[in-house]
């Protein structure tokens, strides 16, 4: 097996481990996770890792350097805070612990991110700040997380999980742009604390007012920052807490910077450096109410310790391929359908996707829109579009997932139609979005023909992407109307109603929609040339762009923590001005979904 093949095969194998914990039936609740974190700290203070529930393979890092359990701080730390700040999140499987430690009696700051899988400790990474070195460094012995962190937020003042994460993402985006992209509100009393010291930007605050959370952003005091790399780890909706880990990169290129009010400030240091951090945000009433951080300097541009190698694109072999959709099976095979009617497949880890199912007299394919791998029924579903055949009906096709042999063809009922994409319910029923006439069809296991679930030209005319969340709720998007909807069904599965969802960003041609566990989805937007991570809570969709700037992206799929965006270059097909010009190589663009680069 080549290195590349090993790569995506490993990704597929790791897919289960990388799924949100909720999808894995996390057997350890928040109290259990908190207990594990405290027990880990106690075990470290006793230099005795025996007796902890370790996973089969455990990853461990201190200050971004991979070390062995039982070595490093396991031989120097002799005590830990008895009232630490702990944020446990069974949904993500992460628990964050922050507080004081002592090395042979010398106090320091310690923050730890533990990954718990099936009640076992699978990974731990920590940011540890000891006394020696540069500011800021306060007094760990008197440090205690603010009391606000322990109190529950009144129900009316809470945000949903997705909104809380979006707020934290927006904070770091504002930090990175030195306040230029400030889309975050702060509570009046919000203060920045780093290693027990009140801060303003990178510098210890001279006065109490300087330490407010908004001052560095409004005044432009993050002028030294080159970038912020971060990852949200854990959310506690009741207490309004979000814990994140990350890095602030500082180039050391300038000795001073000018804030937005024209004042010049000396840089905190004159050399390139990176600051690793764990931050815990308190969010209340839609605003950031408190931010406490433990941070430590590491070599410039140090990478996160557990990152997988950067995934590579998969090239689709052929000219004028013009893919529309993609899917992946549990083994790590990638499939993509194209307007030429050919379905391409990339074997696990392969560099390229090659033609696998071609149009023939049996399948009568002229163009393929949606494709969906269904491991449970060993089926590759595909939507066939009668391209170039005015008045033709489209069809749902079923192929053997292993051999590619056709095993079913199900026409969409007249009139002329566009079978566009497919989702599979827990009972194996296929749900099909038919774009032209605003219809959703179902095909029950063993059925000979599709049945109409709903037709609504007003709301569903343009229905495109279709997907279930983990609890079986059905969602669709509308490529024409730039909307997202929930398809409400009755207890017997029949149609009940449609609910328009509120999306956090304007949509531009929403297309392929794929579930990735829990209430999270990947969504492609063709004209926008981007793929996004969606979190749907109630009627709200929180959207986070993963990658944009691509040349038309009608589809997306994922393997493990890598999304593959279908870069269709459709303008070379549909734009008369571009017809005949060379579109170049076609590829499924690999985009990391998580972790820190």
């Amino acid at each position: 097996m080549s290195r590349r093949k090993m790569g995506r095969f490993a990704l597929a194998a790791a897919a289960l481990a990388l799924m949100p914990a909720s999808a894995q039936a996390q057997s350890c609740d928040a109290a259990c996770m908190t207990d594990l974190a405290n027990r880990f700290m106690d075990a470290m203070a006793k230099s005795d890792p025996k007796g902890l529930p370790w996973a089969g393979q455990v990853r461990y890092a201190e200050n971004s350097s991979k070390v062995r359990i039982g070595e490093s701080s396991w031989v120097t730390i002799k005590g830990r805070a008895k009232a630490p700040l702990v944020v446990a999140d069974p949904q993500t499987g992460h628990v964050v612990w922050a507080g004081m430690i002592d090395d042979h009696g010398q106090p320091g700051f310690y923050a730890m991110d533990m990954t718990v899988t099936g009640g076992r400790i699978a990974a731990v990474q920590s940011v540890i700040r000891r006394k020696e070195g540069r500011q800021p460094f306060g007094d760990p012995t008197t440090y205690a997380p603010d009391k606000k962190y322990a109190t529950a937020v009144p129900a009316k003042a809470r945000l949903s999980r997705g909104q809380m994460i979006a707020l934290v993402d927006a904070y770091f985006a504002a930090q990175e742009t030195n306040g230029a992209a400030l889309a975050v509100g702060f509570d009046r009393g919000c203060t920045l604390i780093e290693n027990g010291v009140r801060m303003t930007g990178n510098l210890p605050a001279a006065a109490g007012g300087d330490a407010s959370c908004d001052a560095p952003l409004k005044r432009g005091l993050w002028g030294e920052l080159e970038g912020v790399r971060h990852q949200v780890l854990a959310v506690d909706e009741v207490r309004g807490l979000v814990a994140a880990i990350g890095y602030r990169d500082l180039t050391g290129a300038k000795t001073s910077f000018t804030a937005q009010d024209g004042t010049s400030y000396a840089a905190e240091a004159k050399y390139p450096r990176t600051v690793g951090f764990v931050s815990v945000f308190k969010i209340e009433g839609g605003k950031i109410a408190r931010l406490e951080t433990i941070a430590n300097e590491v070599p410039y541009l140090m990478s996160a310790p557990f990152n997988a190698p950067v995934p590579r694109d998969v090239i689709v072999e052929g000219k004028g391929v013009f893919m529309e959709s993609a899917t992946a099976d549990a083994a790590g095979n990638l499939y993509t359908g194209s307007f030429t009617g050919t379905i391409y497949r990339a074997l696990p880890g392969a560099d390229t996707a090659t033609a696998w199912i071609r149009p023939d007299e049996t399948n009568k394919i002229t163009a393929v829109l949606g494709v969906l791998a269904d491991d449970k029924s060993n089926t590759l579903w595909a939507c066939s579009l009668p391209m170039g055949k005015p008045g033709g009906v489209s069809a749902l096709l079923a192929f053997d997932l292993k051999t590619g042999v056709m095993k079913g063809l199900y026409d969409m009922p007249a009139p002329a139609s566009a079978c566009n994409d497919i989702a599979i319910a827990k009972d194996g029923t296929a749900f099909v979005a038919e774009t032209t006439n605003g219809r959703i069809f179902t095909l029950k296991p063993g059925a000979k023909a599709v049945e109409l679930l709903v037709e609504d030209k007003a709301l569903l005319g343009g229905v495109d992407g279709i997907a279930f969340n983990e609890d079986g709720t059905l969602y669709v998007n509308n490529v024409r109307a730039n909307t997202m909807l929930r398809v409400n069904r009755k207890g017997d599965g029949s149609f009940a109603s449609l609910t328009m969802l509120k999306v956090s960003m304007p949509l531009n041609g929403p297309d392929g929609l794929r579930p990735i566990g829990g209430n999270r989805f990947l969504q492609a937007e063709g004209p926008a040339g981007r793929i996004s991570l969606l979190t749907i809570e109630g009627d709200t969709v929180t959207m986070k762009v993963l990658k944009d700037g691509m040349d038309g992206v009608p589809g997306v799929t994922s393997i493990g923590d890598t999304a593959y965006a279908v870069e269709s270059k459709g303008r070379f097909l549909f734009d008369p001005a571009m017809k005949g010009k060379d579109p170049g190589v076609f590829a499924l663009r690999a985009v990391p979904m998580g972790g820190i680069r």
Binding site: R3, M6, G7, A10, E62, N63, S64, S65, K66, V67, R68, E71, S72, S73, V75, T76, D103, H104, G105, Q106, G108, I128, R130, E132, G133, R134, T251, G252, A253, T255, K270, Y271, P272, E297, V298, P299, Y300, L301, M302, S303, N307, A308, P309, V310
Partner: protein
């Protein structure tokens, strides 16, 4: 010695990151060996250097000039050059390239035409603040395709730091030895290894042969010349061992360096038989499981720090008559057990864990 193909694989791995690719890279190297190879990893029995010592030193000087000018385009880089700073892969043009304001006019230079590598040890300034610096470059087809650097800055951690304007490199590193005073490449590596073996868990046992006049420059300051006032607390002596004892062998016989749990990822990329020079890289791991220890004369020492850390180093040895005559090292603190992306593992003959 690495073949060009093998080096490219290593560069690819360094660029993309370690981890899962390690095993794959090893496998790829084996596959890359053509039939009839002369030795593992060597595609040809012929290795005639095309860039001699003067050529390599010129490359090193050109690199330092380009660095001082903050103009990467003035350095002769290969298209796929890989640059590391303190063991992190950094895009050329970033890191020290962004902060440098001056390079010392002279440095300690070394070169090895057989492996196509050169080194430069000295002082640089970042916005006027001095930093101690060492680098290794590899030259292939007249282009620099590897740059490995260590930069030691004043960060408040206890370590030797010389007076930047007074750093003097021992001239012996640049002096050709008469043939009868030289030793072989293998023996030069053995000398360096014996030094590291002595440092590791230094308990008074000396494995390395030192000349009587042996001296050592660490981060631009002598750490073997007689010191100014004794202190058994390295925190108060700035980490300079001269406060306890002077002379290479005497210090080790006292067991001053007991703090070093292991000398890890030892590499010896550059050897100059004519001058008796070997340039090595590695890490000193200080686990600080204990924070006091006794010298062999019974005196009690305190460790400089109470928590685990590693020191990443580039260290050059000058060997004359089979004995270590002079040592020059540049090192800096890094997170404990950090790895060097250029290290390839024990299967390639690297020593240590």
């Amino acid at each position: 010695m690495q073949s060009g193909r093998e080096r490219k694989i290593v560069r690819d791995r360094v660029r993309r990151g370690n981890g899962r690719l390690l095993a794959a890279a090893g496998a790829a190297i084996l596959m890359a060996m053509p039939a009839g190879a002369q030795a593992p990893g060597e595609p040809s029995a012929v290795n005639i250097p095309t860039c001699n010592r003067a050529c390599l030193i010129d490359h090193a000087r050109d690199y330092m000039k380009a660095l001082a000018a903050k103009k990467p385009d003035q350095a002769k880089f290969a298209r796929d050059v890989v640059f590391t700073e303190n063991n992190v892969v950094v895009p050329v043009g970033k890191g020290l390239w962004n902060s440098i304001s001056k390079v010392a006019p002279t440095g300690m230079e070394a070169a090895d035409p057989l492996t196509g590598q050169a080194a430069w040890f000295g002082v640089v300034w970042e916005h006027g603040e001095p930093a101690i610096y060492a680098m290794r470059i590899h030259v292939s087809d007249d282009r620099i395709d590897e740059v490995e650097t260590i930069v030691h800055r004043k960060t408040g951690l206890p370590a030797p730091f010389g007076d930047a304007d007074k750093v003097t490199h021992h001239p012996a590193f640049n002096e050709v030895l008469p043939p009868e005073r030289r030793v072989s490449r293998a023996r030069l590596v053995a000398m360096a290894q014996s030094y590291f073996n002595t440092v590791e868990r230094n308990d008074g046992t000396v494995f390395a042969p030192f000349s009587e006049d042996c001296g050592r420059l660490e981060n631009g300051i002598s750490t073997t010349a007689p010191g100014k006032g004794a202190s058994l607390d390295p925190g108060k002596s700035g980490g300079n061992a001269t406060s306890i004892a002077s002379g290479c062998e005497a210090q080790f016989k006292l067991g001053i360096y007991r703090i070093n749990k292991r000398i890890r990822e030892r590499r010896f990329p550059l050897i100059d038989e004519e001058r008796g020079v070997v340039v090595s890289t590695g890490f000193f791991d200080h686990d600080n499981e204990v924070i006091t220890y006794k010298l062999t004369d019974g005196r009690e020492m305190k460790t400089a720090l109470k928590w685990p850390n590693s020191i990443s180093l580039i260290e050059a040895f000058r060997v004359r008559d089979g004995k270590i005559q002079e040592i020059e090292a540049v090192f800096t603190y890094v997170p404990h057990f950090m790895h060097n992306p250029w290290a390839k593992g024990r299967e390639h003959g690297e020593a240590g864990e």
